[in-house]
């Protein structure tokens, strides 16, 4: 492992993403633990907010650039920047450089940051080469490939390889694991009926696997799918993959109340 040698540990700036910050801090803590266990020196810049996707995907490039400049400032100086999200990491990696294409001052800084930015799961597997996760999970899980992780960040085998190290877990594949869940950021509230049909198809596909747990690397997809699963009365547990890999599953699954913790054993 890179960080376990006698040399300086590699430094990682955690870009936790606004959804994790606001909705699911456990994913942030799990990410910190996974990175530290692998020998990284992790910092969490306080100045971070959002990567700018809501404005970017709405065509508002001036506001996006203003947000991106703040992100670039906050995350310069780390060996790597890691986000527990393919979507936000993809924004920094692929879209920041093109946003500043005509800005000679910002463009090199955006390109440099892009080169150091990774999605969590691929960072653990491809850069840190994590091979011995100390985690256990009792359940049958299926993994949803988020569009950005899969198609922007090249994440496909890495989560499967890492989940194979989790004791007690069986991983079962959903035939349509690569199909979009219909979240799409503001898309899901701008076109709720189309988004609803898409997430319904996604939920059908997940239920048909007989898995009791749904995992993914992007909280946006997970909130969308969990929301539809709950509305349809399913008791499939929904978690970010980082929670499971870090063994941080004491909190109830996404969208479940703390009180319902105990009877959950029968669920699924």
């Amino acid at each position: 492992m890179i960080g376990s040698s006698a040399t300086e540990p590699i430094t990682v700036g955690l870009f936790v993403t606004c959804l994790v910050d606001l909705m699911r801090p456990t994913v942030g803590f799990a990410t910190v633990k996974l990175l530290r266990d692998a020998g990284c020196k992790v910092s969490v810049p306080k100045a971070q907010t959002c990567c700018g996707q809501p404005t970017y995907n709405s065509g508002d490039n001036p506001d996006t650039r203003a947000i991106a400049e703040k992100v670039i400032e906050a995350f310069e100086g780390f060996d790597y920047v890691v986000a527990p999200s393919g979507s936000c990491a993809g924004m920094i990696k692929h879209h920041y450089p093109s946003l500043f294409a005509n800005d000679p001052e910002m463009r090199p800084r955006a390109v440099a940051l892009a080169g150091r930015t990774f999605e969590l799961v691929s960072f653990l597997a491809d850069v840190l080469k994590v091979e011995n996760l100390e985690a256990a999970y009792d359940g049958i899980a299926t993994y949803h490939d988020s569009c950005s992780s899969l198609r922007e960040m090249g994440v496909k085998e890495q989560p499967r390889a890492l989940l194979a190290q989790v004791k007690g877990m069986t991983l079962t594949e959903a035939p349509e694991s690569e199909t979009c869940c219909g979240f799409g950021g503001l898309f899901c509230v701008k076109y709720p009926d189309i988004s609803g049909r898409m997430v319904d198809a996604k939920v059908d596909d997940i239920i048909a696997t007989s898995a009791d747990t749904l995992l993914s690397g992007d909280l946006g997809c997970l909130m969308n799918i969990a929301g539809r699963l709950h509305r349809r009365g399913s008791n499939i547990r929904v978690r970010h993959i980082a929670e499971v890999m870090a063994g941080m599953t004491n909190r109830p699954p996404l969208g479940e109340p703390v009180e319902k913790e105990k009877p959950r054993k029968e669920a699924g």
């Binding site: 909705m23 306080k46 971070q48 995907n57 709405s58 799409g184 609803g196 941080m248």
Partner: protein, 476 residues
């Protein structure tokens, strides 16, 4: 064709509540992608072929004037005529004039999206000429007075029962006892009708999958052979094609053929692939006496060198439609004009205006599947974002949206303000959602909660606040 694109919301709600459409679409989108996957698995060099196809198209687009003029010279040498048309109206005029000169009463037609784009059928009808679609799908929707809902499978929105009903309604001679339960029976019925039309037609109008500069040939790709009867039986063959269909050589054409059918239907080749060059020569046994190519620009040269340049690589295979989860949800008619799916969402605003088609680039999750399957690697998601950017720049984005984006940007740029707001909002939502862990309804979140619950935030505050207070999370 009159556009209903501005009524996209109404179109989609109608489509989403149509159970028959839902069944038809699930058949389509499950079938073609699976067959495409199998076809590609049998061809390890498929991705290299995609690169080659992309490079051919890029080369052509960089030298379009040269290849178009070379094509024209070869067509003329072979005894044909090229009609250069800047607009749909000019193309309609050129076709009508040619038909009238030929004294045409009936025109048989092969499937052509450009024919749809310039609404040639309506134009011919208005001038007393009967156009007869000969592609089975096109024939069915012509009987029903519907536009195509898919660029390669125009009647894909219909079940075979609906087709049988249409034939019973329109084919007056059909005996009530005749069974039309099977697709084969439907095909035979259409064939019987069309055979008479093929023989009686004065002009055959086809599209072209490619135009070949080296030889002046046009390439027709079908699975029914209808295009072959359409061009070879009548006295006059008119080809209608947009100018980006040109490729330099026969060799290039075969490269594109190798990715075309595999991407479209998962076939290695379509059943019929025909190269037509000029009118009938002296020793030919059959073929038309006249050969006309109507070359349409209709805004395409305006796309050259701009942000939608790569869209001109499109070979109209339909792979982006077949794999699009939005198309699968709403079908083609909801897009409201000739094209649909991701390629339609990029192309339509350029052809009929961003104001009319403003919904289309927005009704996408930007999931990237279209670019992933595109045989010529068109960056469709990037182009959808470009349209959104232009809308924003032209202030076509609604005022509430713009105000919301501005507010979000102001907060996101000020971490202290963001933290303050986040801590208050999260504490309030976590407290409210504590009992159930989720919300069935929240003010201003109707778009979300209409069909799904909203998970409540974790209790205890935001990550950044908790982390900087020294917390390590649970179970650590």
């Amino acid at each position: 064709m009159e556009s209903t694109t501005a009524a996209f919301r109404e179109n989609t709600s109608k489509a989403l509540s149509d159970a028959k459409l839902r069944d038809a679409l699930s058949n389509l989108t499950d079938g073609f992608p699976a067959r495409r996957r199998e076809a590609i698995a049998r061809l390890p060099e498929f991705d290299a072929l995609r690169d080659a196809a992309r490079d051919i198209k890029d080369h052509v687009l960089a030298n379009l004037d040269f290849y178009l003029e070379a094509f024209e010279a070869r067509v003329v040498e072979a005894g044909g005529t090229v009609h250069w048309c800047r607009t749909a109206a000019e193309a309609r005029t050129a076709i009508l004039r040619t038909c009238k000169t030929a004294g045409a009463k009936t025109v048989t037609k092969g499937k052509s999206m450009i024919g749809e784009e310039i609404a040639i059928n309506e134009h011919l009808e208005e001038h007393g000429i009967e156009p007869v679609e000969t592609d089975l799908g096109e024939y069915i929707i012509q009987l029903r007075h519907e536009p195509p809902s898919h660029i390669i499978a125009p009647a894909i929105h219909l079940s075979k029962e609906q087709v049988a009903d249409t034939f019973r309604d329109k084919h007056r001679h059909l005996s009530p006892g005749r069974s039309l339960d099977e697709p084969r029976a439907l095909l035979d019925e259409a064939r019987g009708e069309l055979r008479r039309k093929f023989i009686g037609a004065d002009v055959g109008l086809t599209g072209a999958n490619m135009l070949i500069a080296e030889t002046g040939s046009i390439v027709l790709v079908t699975n029914e052979g209808n295009a072959d009867l359409t061009y070879s039986l009548p006295r006059v063959h008119i080809v209608i094609a947009s100018l980006e269909k040109i490729v330099p050589t026969l060799e290039d054409a075969t490269t594109i053929l190798r990715v075309l059918a595999r991407s479209a239907t998962g076939q290695e080749m379509s059943v019929y692939t025909t190269f037509c060059t000029g009118p009938k020569r002296q020793d030919d046994l059959d073929g038309p006496d006249e050969f006309h190519v109507v070359l349409l620009d209709n805004g395409r040269t305006g796309m050259l060198g701009g942000e939608f340049h790569e869209m001109l690589r499109c070979i109209r295979c339909g792979a982006c439609l077949n794999h699009c989860p939005v198309y699968k949800a709403i079908g083609g008619h909801a897009y409201g004009w000739v094209y649909s799916g991701p390629m339609g969402a990029v192309l339509i605003p350029g052809l009929i205006g961003l104001e009319e088609a403003g919904h289309l680039p927005n009704a996408s999750t930007l999931c990237g599947k279209c670019e992933d399957v595109c045989p010529v690697r068109i960056p469709l998601p990037r182009m959808l974002r470009t349209w959104r950017r232009r809308q924003f720049e032209r202030r076509q984005t609604s005022y509430p949206s713009r105000a919301g984006l501005r507010a979000w940007s102001l907060i996101a740029r000020r971490p202290w303000l963001y933290r303050l707001g986040a801590d208050i909002a999260v504490a309030a939502l976590a407290a409210l959602g504590r009992a159930r862990g989720r919300f069935r309804w929240l003010p201003l979140a109707g778009g979300w909660t209409q069909l799904r619950d909203l998970p409540a935030p974790e209790e205890g505050g935001t990550f950044i606040s908790r982390y900087h207070l020294g917390e390590h999370g649970d179970g650590a």
